[in-house]
Amino acid sequence: MSSEHLGERLSALVDGELGPAEHESALIHLARCESCRFEADLMRRLKRRLHGLCEPEPDADFMGRLAGLSRDPATAGRGPTEPPPGGAGFGAGPPLGLSRPLGGFPGGHHPASAPPESGAAPHRPQRAARPERHRPERLAHLLPAFPGGRYAVAGFAVASVLIGSAFVAGGDTEETPVVQPRLSDYAVEHAVTSRHLPVAHPQPKATELPYGTTEANR
């Protein structure tokens, strides 16, 4: 193996596309070349990330390097905690490998749902707000066992509106007048139509009410 660096063969090595002889020579070169070894390590990590493997967070050194690349002259004058204008810049979004790949994550699981490692990334930037178009996927993820969930939510909303309207409509109306029924006139009218005299004296006496012996329980 020459002293030349692996170059494009490094990618083939990482992908396992080298023949046995080339693979052996590439490994020998890596044992001697720190630069290629570092690059191979970097590519492996990147590949794992892209394949959604459960790989621990990138180390702080790697993230620091990537963050350093993002610093451009336009943002150099701001403080380290100030957000860039016009939304999040590089480093404010998910780390490389954590963003949503094309076609979604395998199995519908987001790698960010794994519990974060404490202290693994002290300067880890906050994730940007998830775009609105992701919400239906999240609802579908929350309600997989109840296909009628959406209808239930809609029904609950309608019931709430109906009950609220009924509560308002059921209130006392101020214009309801206070009346005193003309009971003596009612008694005469009833006696005329039934042609029976009403009882002349209250039965039972008012002092015996409400649980006198002459009551008829409903």
């Binding site: 296909p147 009628g148 109906l162 009950i163 309207s165 009924a166 509560f167 308002v168 409509a169 059921g170 209130g171 109306t173 309801t176 007048p177 206070v178 009346v179 005193q180 029924p181 003309r182 009971l183 003596s184 006139d185 009612y186 008694a187 005469v188 009218e189 009833h190 006696a191 005329v192 139509t193 039934s194 042609r195 029976h196 005299l197 009403p198 009882v199 002349a200 004296h201 209250p202 039965q203 039972p204 008012a206 009410l209 409400p210 649980y211 006198g212 002459t214 009551e215 008829a216 329980n217 409903r218």
Partner: protein, 355 residues
């Protein structure tokens, strides 16, 4: 792959279960809880006897003492009323010894029409049969019985074979116990002591037609055609008292009569509807307003009274009926509800037309 293609694996059994429950509910609803709670079939061969008795009231002058007894029978409270009937003028009613304060009911086509409707209700609801002859206080009478669909006795009439006058009648509870009885004694044919000079009373003049009743209902007035399966609206009238419109609805099964007086408004705060489950009772004769309505009272002579407010209306029920029927009538009308959240929601749903 589409969401439409995805179906719950348990939807089939759930649907079947729902359909089965619905069938059970429909069958349960279609089955009468009581065998007697349906109109009774029969030849109704007793109706001609009763129609003759109704006609005799407009043809035969007489005076008598009408004895009204309640569920306790003659051993309980008995109301004795002097009755003087003069065809063409009407009938005078006064407690014995107080004939000068007689209530005179003038003859009117409205009452004749009401009598006819009451007879129709009796025929529609019960099996009315001629039960033969009997002796009643020395007078021969033809007995007519009204039976429920299950064969139990609901009412019995005694009609004088000579004059056709109704000598007595008894109305029975569903249990078979007598609810109240009316009987004529000291019957004397011919014009008796008529209280001359008395103008007399007639039913309120504004009889409500079917169209007018529908308009009232559209305006929110509670005026049901039925209170129970056997208590049907047989007459509805209206008048104005103290500037307020009052509707008098008469419900009957042919044997009993229930008057429901309805007017817009609410009771004074001193008649607190919060007492006794929101109901307020009235003293018999309309005097005083004792606090009560979850129980209606009266009953010594088969008369019951009750008053309450509900949903912007004040209801007053005066009933000549068995206690069970009177209670059913009260229960069928809007109840006073409560002051809680759900009571208000229920009231609101009713106002919005959902109930």
């Amino acid at each position: 792959m589409s969401a439409r293609g995805h179906s719950c694996p348990h939807s089939g059994p759930v649907t079947l279960l729902a359909v089965a429950l619905l069938c059970v509910l429909l069958l349960t609803a279609a089955t009468s809880p009581e065998a007697a709670a349906v109109p009774a079939d029969g030849s109704d061969d007793g109706m001609p006897v009763l129609r003759r008795a109704a006609a005799a009231e407009n043809q035969v002058a007489y005076s008598a003492v009408r004895e009204m007894t309640g569920p306790h029978g003659p051993g309980g409270h008995v109301l004795r009323v002097r009755v003087v009937n003069r065809p063409g003028d009407g009938i005078a009613l006064a407690p014995l010894g107080e004939e000068e304060d007689a209530l005179v009911v003038r003859s009117s086509s409205a009452l004749e029409s009401l009598d006819e409707r009451l007879l129709h209700m009796l025929q529609d609801t019960y099996s009315v049969s001629d039960a033969g002859l009997a002796d009643l206080d020395g007078r021969e009478a033809r007995v007519v019985e009204a039976a429920r669909a299950d064969g139990t006795l609901a009412g019995r009439f005694w009609v004088d074979t000579d004059t056709g006058l109704l000598l007595g009648r008894t109305v029975y509870e569903a249990t078979g116990a007598p609810a109240f009885s009316v009987r004529l004694s000291d019957l004397a044919l011919g014009e008796g002591s008529w209280p001359e000079g008395r103008v007399g009373d007639e039913p309120w003049g504004d009889a409500l037609t079917g169209t007018e009743r529908a308009e009232l209902r559209d305006g929110g007035w509670p005026l049901p055609e039925h209170l129970t399966w056997n208590l049907r609206l047989v007459d509805a009238r209206s008048t104005k008292l103290a500037g307020n419109r009052v509707v008098h609805a008469v419900y009957s099964d042919g044997l009993s009569q229930v008057s429901v007086f309805t007017q817009r408004g609410k009771l004074d705060t001193k008649h607190s509807p919060a007492l006794r489950n929101g109901y307020t009772g009235t003293g018999a004769g309309g005097s005083g307003v004792p606090t009560q309505h979850d129980t209606i009272f009266g009953g010594d002579t088969g008369q019951y009274q009750s008053m309450w407010q509900a949903d912007g209306f004040v209801y007053t029920v005066l009933a000549d009926a068995p206690a069970g029927l009177a209670s059913s009538a009260v229960t069928a009308l809007p109840d006073p509800g409560g002051s809680g959240f759900w009571a208000r929601v229920h009231r609101g749903l009713a106002r919005l037309g959902f109930l």
